[in-house]
């Protein structure tokens, strides 16, 4: 019997995450948000999150809207689906300062990026590539079974 592999497609909303052991193509659009893409180099599958703020401050639910929650949950879910931490590599995108600001408190993009890299360092997962910061929004398309990410910038004018 011939097995046809259908590729799943998923649009990743902010504050959510996606992990699937089946081949999937995940698209997401990032402004000051950051997405961490994990990929298991031995089992050939991956997962991605999309967080808006660096730390959960105890308000509301501990949802993956917050970086520290989102990365932890992504890693847990990857391991739950059979990934081995030593096989994991990470790619990090986003964190553009898409909103003009002069107030240091509002450098959300920068703080998101810092958290993502720091977290990866803490759990000892190598960040093999990244494209972060800048003044533009981004669109990324992640093929979870190959680990390949297509990345393009979004024009400031076009972005809402």
């Amino acid at each position: 019997m011939i097995e046809t592999t259908t590729v799943l497609t998923h649009y990743l909303f902010p504050g959510t995450l996606y992990v699937n052991s089946r081949p999937s193509v995940v698209t997401t659009v990032l402004g000051s948000c950051v997405a961490v893409c994990l990929f298991d180099q031995e089992h050939y599958f991956g997962g991605i999150n999309h967080f808006m703020l660096p730390y959960w401050n105890g308000d509301g639910l501990a949802s993956p809207k917050y970086g520290n929650v989102a990365i932890k949950k992504l890693l847990e879910k990857m391991i739950l689906l059979g990934a081995d931490k030593k096989n994991l590599i990470a790619k990090i995108f986003g964190g553009g300062e898409v909103i003009d600001t002069t107030m240091a408190n509002f450098y959300i993009g920068e703080r998101n990026i810092e958290l993502a890299f720091q977290y990866m360092q803490d759990v000892q997962i190598p960040v093999v590539s990244s494209c972060v910061g800048g003044l533009y929004g981004r669109k990324i398309i992640y093929s979870t079974n190959t680990g390949v990410i297509q990345h393009s910038f979004i024009d400031r004018e076009v972005r809402q």
Binding site: Y11, L61, K91, V148
Partner: protein, 301 residues
């Protein structure tokens, strides 16, 4: 030393005052940071307390209803078959226990789903009026029991009388309104009025649910959307539930890209308003735009 001599007294004073300003500023920043740290610390302690409180709540909110459902149904089995009036009243009690249990579980699962980050919006054309109708129907036992007058003000004026459709996630909207209505009914006093007002404002769906209950003091209003937050922590009949409902409401409304607001005065009642935009999913967030690979600036990582 050569340089120092060239500085006039005025310049020196300026420099000193600048440095004082700087250190005052950094002190201020440190105090602000310290305050934040203190708040977070407090929340951490609270969350530990909540955890233990949650376990004791589970007993009250899940085990007790089950116990009464079991006891009541046993009663039906043993009852005299001719005595159908008793059977019906017992069945009504079972229904009310099971209904509330089901509602609580829905909130718990919704919260768990949001926390797992795997919530998906299932957008469809939703008949808004039918949501209200089904909710009023399912809460009819509470409305009847507390003799509450529900005033449903419907601003959807469809010219030909056809139902009004709004693109959104039906189940999630249902849960949000259900929570607000449940709160409104729960905290209303006997024989009082609950006003539901629904309509369209600037293309957004706007729903207000106003009760005539105990109200919420202004200093407490900022806490009520917190998880497991109940202003009155005593366990009693009015104050059922986990304090999860409004948190779930807020998270879901945020997911819709909308807002939830509260207006309340102590002893005069509370009024919750949600405003959510119509979903544009399927028109804007199209995943597949074909020739993605051939865009000029596309890079591969």
């Amino acid at each position: 030393m050569e340089n120092l001599k060239n500085i006039s007294n005025k310049e020196l004073l300026n420099e000193i005052s600048r440095r004082f300003d700087d250190s005052a500023k950094s002190l201020k920043e440190q105090i602000a940071l310290y305050d934040t740290l203190e708040t977070v610390n407090k929340k951490l302690l609270e969350s530990e307390e909540l955890k233990s409180h949650f376990l004791s709540n589970i007993r009250n909110e899940i085990v007790n209803p089950f116990a009464s459902i079991i006891a009541l149904s046993k009663h039906i089995v043993r009852s005299n078959k001719e005595d159908w009036k008793t059977v019906i009243s017992i069945a009504a009690l079972i229904h009310s226990e099971a209904f509330f249990l089901d509602f609580q579980l829905k909130n718990i699962f919704a919260a768990a789903e949001i926390e797992s980050g795997e919530t998906k919006l299932h957008i469809s054309n939703v008949n808004i009026i039918s949501i209200f109708q089904s909710l009023l129907e399912s809460y009819s036992h509470v409305i009847w029991e507390k003799k509450i007058k529900v005033n449903f003000i419907n601003h959807f004026h469809q010219e030909n009388g056809s139902p009004f459709f709004f693109r959104t996630d039906a189940d999630k909207l249902h849960l949000v309104i259900s929570n607000l209505l449940c709160n409104g009914l729960q905290f209303s006093k006997l024989e009082r009025e609950v006003i539901i007002e629904a309509g369209i404002l600037n293309n957004d769906l706007k729903v207000t649910i106003k009760d005539s209950g105990i109200g919420i003091r202004e200093e407490n209003q900022k806490y009520i959307f917190g998880r497991f937050k109940k202003l009155d922590n005593t366990i009693n009949d009015v104050n059922k539930g986990y304090g999860l409902g409004l948190t779930v409401c807020q998270e879901l409304v945020n997911m819709f890209g909308g807002s939830i607001t509260l207006q309340s005065k102590e002893n005069e009642g509370s009024s919750f308003t949600i405003q959510i935009p119509e979903s544009t999913k399927g028109t804007v967030n199209v995943v597949d735009d074909g020739n993605e690979m051939f865009f000029e600036d596309t890079q591969i990582f």
